[in-house]
Amino acid sequence: MTEHVQVAETATLVQDAINRLEAQFAGAVRRDDREGYSGVIVDAGRLVEVATFVRDRLGFSYLSSATAVDYLGKSESDPLEMVYHTYNLQGGPALVLKAQTPRSEATLPSLVGVWPGANFQEREAWDLMGIRFEGHPNLKRILMWEGFHGHPLRKDWHEAYYEQDTKPFDSRWPEGHVSRAEEHNPYGKNVRYPAGFTLDGYESQAEKALYEAAPMGVHVTDMATDRVVVSMGPQHPSTHGVFRMIVSLDGETIVALEPVMGYLHRNHDKIGERNTFLHNMPFTDRLDYFCSMSNNLGYALAIEQLMALGKRYEPPTYRAEAIRVLMVELTRILNHLVAIGFLLNDLGAYFTPLMYAIIERELILDFFEAASGSRMMCNYMRFGGVAYDLPERIQGTAALVNDRVRDFDTMHYLRALINDRLPRAIDQTNDLLTTNEIITNRCIGVGVLTREDAIAYSAAGPVLRASGVPYDVRRAEPYSIYPDLEFDVAVRYHGDIYDRYLIRLDEMRQSIRILKQILPILEETKGQPFFAGRGGQYNPRVPAGEAYGRAENPKGELGYYVVSDGGQNPWRYHVRSPSFINLTALEQMCKGHKVADVVAILGSIDIVLGEVDR
């Protein structure tokens, strides 16, 4: 009950903030009164002023997400809109700031000066939507390369294999004569380049700029230099994927670092806008492929928020919520075990901790596979519940030669896993690593991110909490049945690699605590519906409006900003990926440390490139 009161209070807090904004900036700030929308629309000219006021005076000091929407054909002026979600670190809902700019000559003032965490997100908005940010220190493409034609998220931009604006495609049924896309659009002819761009004698200007921007003492071709620019990657600088860092070194000390990414980019957002709402669910699995269950939940939350705007909406049943929390917390444990394993790989403890982590992960994945049908690409959550109830037994059926059958009772399996096996695995990790002198020597005091920086750079999840900010979406803006569950928000205060390691152990222990409370709920609710509303709807109706669904993922706050125009498909679908935004602070953490520490610092952030590049 107390939680409900709290939510009501914080909601008025946002109303107060908007009132104060309107009073302070009369004429420059107006309420967003479109149906299903919230927040305020700010005059572009005074955006920086308003943002500073919001951060310093109103207390919304944390910029969670900054993204752009193209409203082509939705209003007379066809504007591009930038949407900023700011939060109070005490908890509560978002104060949403919006700024509009015309499509031709789209320009907005940059907010990097107010929130450094907007850096990559504004670059992404420039890259994908073509909004120029005045005052941005490094405005260039971030996910695409320089020879890319246009800004793909604009509604009038069509991809090479473009077939139709939205799915389902008419060519599939009832006259579905199959053809392969590359037959219509053969390799070599499927790329468009910007005007004046040619591959003859092509020399990458972006690469040149990258090296020139890196601070060097003298020109690198003169041998008498004291600074060297090193390109680390993109072939696995550590064990995290195709990621590259341009590191500027003074001796072995890092002077500057710039992440280069996009090697795995597939424009998840654009795919999401072609898809129907439900189509996106399996695509979210592919973001952070370690945590597909949590990704599913975040997306389900966003769409349920939108559906709640309609009249006939039934929230998920209690059993569905309990199953969701079970899945998500198991995901957190497996992610953290593996994250610690990879961090130790980066530190040179080659594969022993990781392999121990993978044993436990296998056991969790066996359960996921039995429940959802897939180990990693779970596609398990639906709007209003989950796809299937928990299976009676975790049991294989022999279908192939040499198949070995295992058979466990599901609840017995979960009890044994949660009460015995996983806590022991966490203790084992603790015994193996925590007091190890090599680890303490290499981790303590390295890669420090101060509390202020962590907030300013929009760091999220374990990175934020290891810097002394006890901010956890499960408590700050509770969703699902977390208000009923007892757990503490883990927090550490030094902000170094070691604390980011320790906080993962803490969080796993809290997850075990939650799971122990979930088990009796699962027993009690056995047989109750796991899905609310009518089943069998592959195309649920989603009312027009906007929603920002966020979930506390193992890697940090995962947010889905979804705009619906009332049709079958999302008008805008944006993923605020924690891995991507946590990288904004990488340079800050690495400066002044040795080059050998970079990999360890990167490992301590715990990124997955499927989510960084999207």
Binding site: R172, Q428, L432
Partner: protein, 217 residues
């Protein structure tokens, strides 16, 4: 004492090392453990080596496991309609498919030109299929199901990876064998082991025969 943390960690690795051999002794140093031991070695009790030696050993997949879809057809020895498609070409799977890898040509009666409830052609491009299982989940006729056979490596990408109706079709018996519980549950929901339309037809016939008693079938 400096170094005690390392020693403590090495204790953990030593335990794993010893456990591995204890397990081996337990199963008599056999390269592949007997079937009854497999759940112990690959389960909650596992202490030693956790590796499965594919392809000599494979973990049997659970019922809900999903790989490329297949089309259910009546058993080839079915008395009335052997090998008949369960699919009615309603197109829901093609619409629910996120990467749009399903192509269906609706069947038509060659004489009248009217659509009939069966597919003339049915294609799935398995290179595009993302194994999400939404087609099977939303099929109102239990006619498309996810397969368990994940060993599909082939030498030719361009020709061999578009599955046609013939390649996709599998007997209903096969579905019963890979997912006995679910097949039984679905049959219960339909009201019998046969296809929905067959059951309806029978019910209609039974009603026509014995209007007074009704619903005996």
């Amino acid at each position: 004492m400096y170094g005690s943390g390392i020693v403590r960690g090495l204790g953990v690795t030593l335990k794993h090392f010893v456990n591995t051999y204890l397990e081996d002794i337990r199963w008599g140093f056999r390269r592949h453990v007997p079937d009854e031991a497999f759940p112990l070695r690959q389960g909650l009790e596992a202490r030693g080596i956790f590796t499965v030696e594919y392809p000599e050993e494979k973990i049997a997949t659970p019922e809900r496991f999903r790989f490329i879809p297949f089309l259910v057809v009546d058993n080839y020895d079915h008395p009335e309609r052997p090998g008949h498609d369960w699919c009615t070409s309603c197109g829901i799977c093609a619409k629910a498919c996120p990467p749009q890898c399903i192509w269906i040509v609706r069947g038509t009666n060659p004489e009248t030109g009217r659509p009939v409830p069966e597919p003339a052609e049915f294609y799935i491009d398995i290179d595009i299929c993302m194994n999400c299982g939404l087609c099977a989940e939303f099929c109102p006729f239990d006619a498309i199901k996810m397969d368990h056979d994940y060993e599909l490596a082939s030498y030719d990408r361009t020709g061999a990876h578009i599955f046609n109706k013939q390649r996709l079709s599998k007997e209903f018996r096969y579905w019963q064998s890979i997912a006995p519980t679910r097949a039984a549950e679905e049959a219960q929901a339909r009201g019998g082991w046969e296809h929905k339309d067959v059951l309806k037809q029978r019910e209609r016939e039974a009603r026509a025969k014995a209007p007074a008693s009704g619903g005996e079938a």
